[in-house]
């Protein structure tokens, strides 16, 4: 499993920080891409930040009322690091199964 940190993005028009209003997810939650993660307030507006990706939330940064700077970690996801490409599945190395038994007399000449 790999961790992917999602930093507070630039929320537009030169904002450098945002205040956490309320978290909409908790560590351990499996979230989908675009699912609301957190309510934030900037000097200009309040907004809901959608998740940039699917994954399991393992850490969140900033309790309600705390301020986070743009670029600082906001949420850390855990994602499987062996996802297949756009098609197919990741093969598993299962214990080898056999039906055939070798039965040969080796003439060691």
């Amino acid at each position: 499993m790999a961790e992917i940190s999602f930093p507070l993005p630039d929320l537009g028009e030169g904002l450098i920080e945002a205040t956490v209003l309320d978290w909409l997810v908790s560590p351990g939650d499996q979230v989908e891409r675009n699912q609301p993660l957190v309510e934030l307030e900037t000097s200009k507006s309040a907004l809901e930040l959608p998740s940039p990706q699917a994954g399991k939330v393992i850490r969140i940064h900033g309790a309600p009322g705390e301020t986070i700077n743009v670029g600082e970690p906001l949420v850390v996801f855990e994602v499987p690091d062996n996802t297949a490409g756009i098609v197919g599945t990741v093969p598993q190395d299962d214990a080898p199964k056999r039906r055939v038994r070798l039965s040969a007399v080796l003439d060691e000449d």
Binding site: L21, E41, S43, K44, S45, L47, P50
Partner: protein, 276 residues
């Protein structure tokens, strides 16, 4: 942005087309409740995007199976900024809204038909417009949700002359409310200050008088418990109740006028209140 862009609609009101930016957002796939559309009216110096998009309202309503009509008020968001003052007057805006929702398919309420009628959610200035729209369109509007509402429009007491002096030569504005509203408007570089001042001037010509026309449909009033602009919400509630309407009030703990709008408590209450 999903949604059908209907800017090509050609109906004019009073002979002119106000060029308001309208979008219709269909319910999320597989969730359609078949309920009437919801019209969203944003606040002063905001926009559909800021007030309803970024805050998660549109996606929340879509996920709840609702069809959503959004409109940027004149001089806001992606709507144009007409030069004539009349385009900004609340009465003209109400007329435009009526045309827009009709074009978007809203039909008068018919008993037993959940698809008929129109629900309206407003915030701040949008709540004032929603109140008046409900009061003047009793056959169309089914329910109202008013966020951050005030019995007097703060824009009515805006010191326009002081604002213009400040913009011209930097003379400080004495009135705190005026200074605050102007600061808010200036924070967003995309705002058209001329248009916003025109809107204020037009509103001053038609100040909000909630008792003059009172909506009779059920309404939900919501504000942050730290919202200083909505301290008169209980008075508004009693005006509506006295007129015989069913009124519910909700205070969102810890929130003020600018950040109550994203609150899940607010959204959940609105979705439940309108989901009948």
């Amino acid at each position: 942005m999903s949604g059908r862009h209907t800017e090509e609609h050609i109906h004019t009101v009073e002979g002119t087309d106000p060029h308001l930016f309208v979008e219709v957002h269909e319910p999320a796939e597989g969730t359609d409740t078949g309920l009437r559309p919801v019209l969203l009216l944003h606040g002063f110096s905001s926009s559909t995007k800021l007030n309803w998009g970024d805050t998660g309202w549109i996606s929340t309503l879509k996920s709840a199976g609702r069809r959503v009509i959004t409109v940027d008020l004149p001089g806001h968001g992606q709507s144009s900024s007409p030069e004539d003052l009349d385009s900004y007057s609340p009465s003209r805006i109400r007329a435009d809204l009526l045309q827009i929702v009709a074009d978007a398919g809203a039909r008068p309420v018919r008993a037993g038909d959940p698809a008929s009628g129109l629900d309206v959610i407003g915030y701040s200035l949008g709540s004032r417009l929603a109140w008046e729209f409900g009061a003047t369109q009793p056959e169309l509007v089914h329910r109202l949700v008013l966020g951050g509402p005030n019995k007097e429009d703060p824009l009515a007491s805006f010191d326009l002359a002081a604002a213009q002096r400040y913009l011209a030569d930097g003379t400080p504005i004495e009135d705190e409310s005026t200074a605050g509203l102007l600061k808010m408007a200036q924070l967003l570089p995309s705002n058209d200050l001329f248009a916003l001042l025109s809107l204020i001037e037009a509103i001053k010509g038609e100040p909000f008088d909630p008792a003059e026309a009172v909506p009779h449909m059920p309404m939900l009033l919501v504000a942050g418990d730290k919202d200083e602009r909505a301290v008169t919400m209980p008075e508004l509630a009693s005006i509506a109740a006295r007129a015989g309407g069913m009124v519910e009030q909700l205070l969102v703990p810890g929130r003020n006028h600018s950040n109550a709008v994203t609150s899940r408590v607010f959204k959940d209450a609105a979705v439940a209140f309108l989901g009948v």
